[in-house]
Symmetry: C2
Subunit: 302 residues, 2 copies
């Protein structure tokens, strides 16, 4: 196995099985098509016949299989790519059919829930290495994916305690070959970080769109007309996939509610300062925003 | 006077005075330099000697004058371009020196406050036509401006009842020649619309940056490292100018607090649905976000 992210002669896996073929799954399938180093054979399974038909039309898989239990048979790597809420049922369906020595991974945005849903059903001879590629667009479905989606983006692994080091290294190398920068942390830290970095911003974006939609007709018309950059940026992330985000919210409940509570307290404190004309307090809050922004720019995240 | 936004032989104003020379003021000065149709002579005044010196270096004004009372003398158009909180003091200073028949305008993001601060001090022979160009960047100061800032952006006029139609039309033409699409509405409607479209998103962005900054050191480090697109979009607008936004918040207090209250109720309703696992409610909120997004795309605002 090569240590570099460059294409290599021998593929990392013989038979890679993707369960779910939305933005992330179909980007992995395309990456495997274009990059010989990932897998010799790509097997794709999906819940609906329409999606399976589309995958056949797109020609992004070697094998298209409706039944997930059949799809995982003989695969040396299986990646769960459905919305995180589907993992428990999917796992019940596939667990008895996973090949001995198989590596099982996922791409979900919530990691505590994946441990909760997958770990108890895991056969003893299957290696479980959860992963979260921090990449996405506002589009979804098998047509939305592209081979370069993961390039230059972080992928966070949350291997459970006692995970097989060789399996972890193989998943790490898989994501390197997708072009990602790979990091590891425990699932609880991961869930807190994404709660504030991604889940809370999405909750806020969905909310403010609804708040605008509830305004009196005349004001709402003007809102749509004059949506300046502030609102526009918010609505971009609000256009995300319904099933995925419902599942994310429900499966990162504790961390998300904790961050929402902290944010609410802070928003109300700023609102109170506005009401009582506390200019110093307001200036301090604005300055902190600028400080965080500067940190991001220094880290080339902005 | 030409009805078109195209350059025209005769300038609209003989002597245009800009009080304040940040992003908006310096963009107007540059526009007037490059576009013969705006003003024959541009006079600039600013609060600090450093800024005045910089304006001289940049060569974006015909006359640079420290004293606003001197600056407005003989001008047939004066535009207040300082943060909105400076308007009352500025107006007390200049009111006795405004030329008869002069048009007084502004570029503030809050219009009720401008009526409140400026109207009572207005000499009877001066025409007051408030304006809000809905354009901006995250940068500020005289170096940040550029002549094309207003092109293709809305500019909202909020002429008070009984405003002189000829003066309103002249301000309208001024902004057309800056490349803007000009609309009119009353100050109260304007303030509600910008509260949700711009001011609340900024309050939220400043807040979430502070919330992230308050997290335990380890989590904060990871937040900065993994700031995905959601958080990054939020922080872009959080890097805005401190003085301007403090004044905006304090001068659109009622509308902003009203929108913050509506937003908070909606955010808590969504948080509650997450806590109690109400998938239907969550899906409905996400769908509304997507609907608003689609409306914006249809209106080419996104």
């Amino acid at each position: 196995m090569s240590d570099s992210g460059e294409p290599s002669g021998a593929p990392l896996f013989e038979r890679l099985c993707l369960l779910g073929i939305g933005l992330i799954g179909s980007s992995l399938a395309r990456r495997a098509r274009e990059h010989g180093g990932l897998a010799r054979t790509v097997v794709v399974s999906s819940r609906t016949e329409a999606t399976l038909a589309r995958v056949r039309e797109l020609g992004i898989a070697d094998v298209v299989e409706a039944d997930p239990a059949e799809a995982v048979r003989g695969a040396d790597c299986v990646i769960l790519c459905a919305p995180v809420g589907a993992n428990a049922a999917l796992m019940r369906r596939i667990a008895p059919h996973l090949a001995p020595g198989c590596i099982l991974s996922d791409v979900g945005s919530t990691k505590g829930s994946v441990l909760r849903d997958v770990q108890p059903l895991l056969p003893g001879d299957v290696h479980f290495v959860p992963a979260h590629p921090m990449a996405g667009t506002e589009f979804s479905g098998p047509d939305a994916g592209f081979a370069t989606l993961f390039e230059g983006r972080y992928c966070i692994l949350t291997p459970p305690p006692g995970a097989d080091p060789a399996a972890v290294e193989k998943v790490r190398e898989f994501w390197r070959r997708c072009g990602s920068m790979v990091e590891s942390m425990d699932a609880a830290t991961h869930d807190k970080v994404v709660a504030i970095v991604s889940h809370l911003p999405h909750l806020i974006a969905f909310t403010i769109c609804g708040t605008a939609d509830d305004l009196a007709a005349e004001t709402r018309e003007a809102v749509l007309k004059f949506a300046a950059s502030g609102f526009r940026d918010f609505t971009r992330i609000a256009s995300s996939d319904v099933d995925m985000w419902r599942d994310v919210f429900l499966n990162n409940r504790e961390a998300l509610l904790e961050m929402l509570a902290r944010f609410s307290e802070d928003a109300h404190a700023l609102g109170r300062a506005v009401r009582w004309g506390q200019a110093d307090f307001i200036e301090d809050r604005i300055r902190r925003g600028r400080k965080i922004r500067r940190s991001l720019i220094e880290r080339r995240q902005a």
